[in-house]
Symmetry: C2
Subunit: 436 residues, 2 copies
């Protein structure tokens, strides 16, 4: 039987998972491919630790070039993460005519455009299914099966850490810090959780989904990013009273040549399918003009699910190699020279409904002063609750607005915060009602 | 720009949808393919009716051969439905070196093995994404992205008509006949709804999912099929009291070389994601050994969603054609000569938990007699409710069992039905607890 030789860069958790799939499921993969996937080289600086998998003699090496330029390597799997040396390694592999599979969302979000260019110049491909939604087969679905559609919107819950935290805050009323500490103990959050809880990881993934859906690279710095650290269990409870849930949502929308690209805590109606996505699960929802809404749900992270996605890409590239065909499907689904540059709408120009939580002194006339500021800025109030009243203390006023322009809402909040009756910065959360 | 010439057989509702996508989204499809998809011929016996789309002169013909054997046709899209002449037409097209795309689940379920054989012999492909789950990109996901996995289970809500009926029965307590009549008025059910409500359409789709997941054709007659006509609004209400929902589920499971392939009303815990799939939506859930559970949801039928799936396949085959490569991905994901024949477990040998509803005379000692029959057959009762008591009339006894063998349950029901205190045939519904 023919062989496809894979080389692996980075023998960490995901790398171990990939080796496990290749070893355990060698037969079924061979039945699908008509060839065996053989791990010809695994490169890591640490060549002594026991990861619980056994490699054939001579496979493990500390020399990255054995993988990147090895004459017999067909496909390079990059799992070292981070920007460098991952970027240089991938470029080297592509220049040596190797197909590349990577799970590195940060690398692809920041340097994807360059890497795809190098791949195209060298008639090879770079696939990165594992970079978005872990095991969920979303990128290939957009690239190929949904390719007959123009997409108007994509949205997703793309970070298991955040969704786990928000789910527990929602279900048990626990506060952010407590749940985060627990998530760290359980291994659902990193020791330094910044990338996750500040929304950066979600934004990396959104940038790739946007490229795929809209055929346009988005500059990472054009994505509006806001994490979940400001959301309190009280906000989640107030949201529930309005029949909403709060999720960290990645949102991509397209109207003509303008797109929106934003990551922020978002209130969605409890009836939405996305509202039912609990715990560490991930989900992606796409809105195509013919297919309508499609939603994919599954494990967004973890050794095994990520390894499954990596193998999916390996299988795709192995098929190309085995039929000796040119790159059949370009990595983004669009022809390389057909990628366009769409304009990202500034967050200030976004129109949305808003939730506002304002902590005020509990005395007469307060609401009138706030309402005046809001009204002056052309924002109309849809509903209001004053959850508790306590003589003399601070009480929240919780408002939901009709659709308003973000710049006006920001100005309103700024002015409200300057009132002497307002004692702490007010919070606003965007509401998404357009994904029914 | 290069062109890919498509020929369409069957200018009905779906055909009209396909033409709409090709016309409306010509630009985005061209950006993805690097070639324009051109409708070179559309064949239908009716060449006069207005379907609301305009074809170029000379494209519409009543001569099927213009599509099947036309020298310039690259891809044939079969949308006439049914077994014949669809089967003969597809074979003819394949023999003439055309790739084929079909939405015909009945044809593929009954004759797929033969058609794939002909395709393989002629070095062309036949794809049928639209046959399962409408616009949901499930087949390609299994074939490619999830190809690193061994699957242990697939389950799905694959018939929008049944799910619509069960959802309304569940949400409004309406009875089957009323909702069916309404569904017919709304166009959610055919004038003759047999294929849908008796589970046959679902079984067609299940057979294709099983082939794809397990690499084994299943003989259609080996699939156990039971429709939803016996389920009453009361059963749905009792299920709810146990915190379950009733869905028409397609279930495929694999244990070694034995598979289960069955379609029947199924009680699933209300906490399952599948339980949230309401109305005409479809969903497919796959359990892979590495990816874990993945669920895909979307429109399972309708002109536009089905057309989206057809175009996905057209794009895949056009890419093959454009790169002049051999068939890169075999239609089932498995190499043609690696397909195996797994044994389907007889329904009598299936083990499951069961719901039993027995209508009895309301007098003392009844439960003891029923419990004795059940106990004698090695079936143990997990819980029981006697929902209403009315002096002298008939009352239901509703039981849930622990895991039992179906043959024993059938025998128990048979014996229970023979008791003089039982006045109408008892109903049993299988419970699925293994998809958490």
């Amino acid at each position: 039987m023919k062989e496809i030789k894979a080389g692996l860069l980075g023998f960490g958790t995901i790398g171990t998972g990939v080796i496990k799939v290749i070893q355990q499921n060698a037969d079924v993969i061979a039945q699908r491919l008509g060839a065996r996937v053989v791990l010809a080289a695994v490169a890591d600086l640490d060549i002594t630790s026991d990861r619980g998998v056994t490699l054939e003699d001579g496979v493990l090496t500390s020399d990255a070039d054995a993988v990147l330029t090895g004459a017999d390597i067909d496909i390079v799997i990059e799992l070292i993460g981070g920007y460098e040396p991952a970027r240089s390694f991938v470029i080297k592999a592509l220049r040596h005519g190797k197909h590349v599979v990577t799970a590195n969302k940060a690398l692809m979000a920041l340097h994807g455009q360059e890497l795809l260019q190098v791949a195209a110049e060298n008639n090879v491909s770079i696939l990165f299914e594992a970079a978005v939604g872990g095991g969920i087969p979303v990128l290939a679905a957009i690239r190929e099966n949904l390719g007959g559609n123009n997409f108007s919107a994509i949205s997703g819950i793309l970070n298991g850490t955040c969704n786990y935290i928000l789910t527990r805050m929602s279900e048990n009323g626990e506060d952010f810090a407590t749940v985060l500490a627990d998530a760290q103990k359980l291994g659902y959050a990193e020791a330094d959780p910044t990338f996750d809880i500040e929304g950066i990881d979600t934004a990396h993934k959104l940038s790739l989904l946007i490229s795929m859906c809209f055929g346009s690279w988005v500059d990472f710095e054009d994505i509006y990013i806001e994490g979940i650290t400001q959301v309190t269990a009280q906000d989640i409870e107030y949201a529930r009273q309005f029949n909403y849930q709060i999720k960290l949502l990645a949102i991509g929308k397209r109207e003509g040549d303008v797109i929106e690209a934003r990551v922020h805590p978002t209130m969605i109606p409890a009836s939405y399918q996305l509202a039912d996505v609990r715990g560490v699960l991930n989900a992606v929802r796409m809105q195509g003009d013919f297919v309508g809404p499609v939603m994919l749900t599954g494990s967004g992270a973890g050794m095994d699910a990520t390894a499954s996605a990596v193998l999916g890409d390996v299988i795709s590239l192995a098929r190309t190699k085995l039929t000796e065909s040119a790159v059949v499907t370009p990595p983004l689904g669009y022809q390389h020279d057909e990628l366009t540059k769409l304009t990202v709408r500034k967050i200030e120009d976004v129109c949305s409904d808003y939730y506002l939580r304002i902590m005020v002194e509990d005395r007469p006339g307060v609401l009138a002063r706030i309402a005046a500021i809001i009204g002056d800025l052309d924002i109309s109030i849809r509903s209001m609750i004053q959850p508790q009243r306590q003589q003399g203390g601070h009480v929240p006023i919780v408002l939901m607005t009709h659709t308003a322009k973000e710049s006006n809402v920001r100005l309103a909040v700024e002015r409200i915060n300057q009132l002497d009756i307002v004692k702490e910065p007010s919070l606003f959360i965007r509401i998404e009602n357009s994904l029914a």
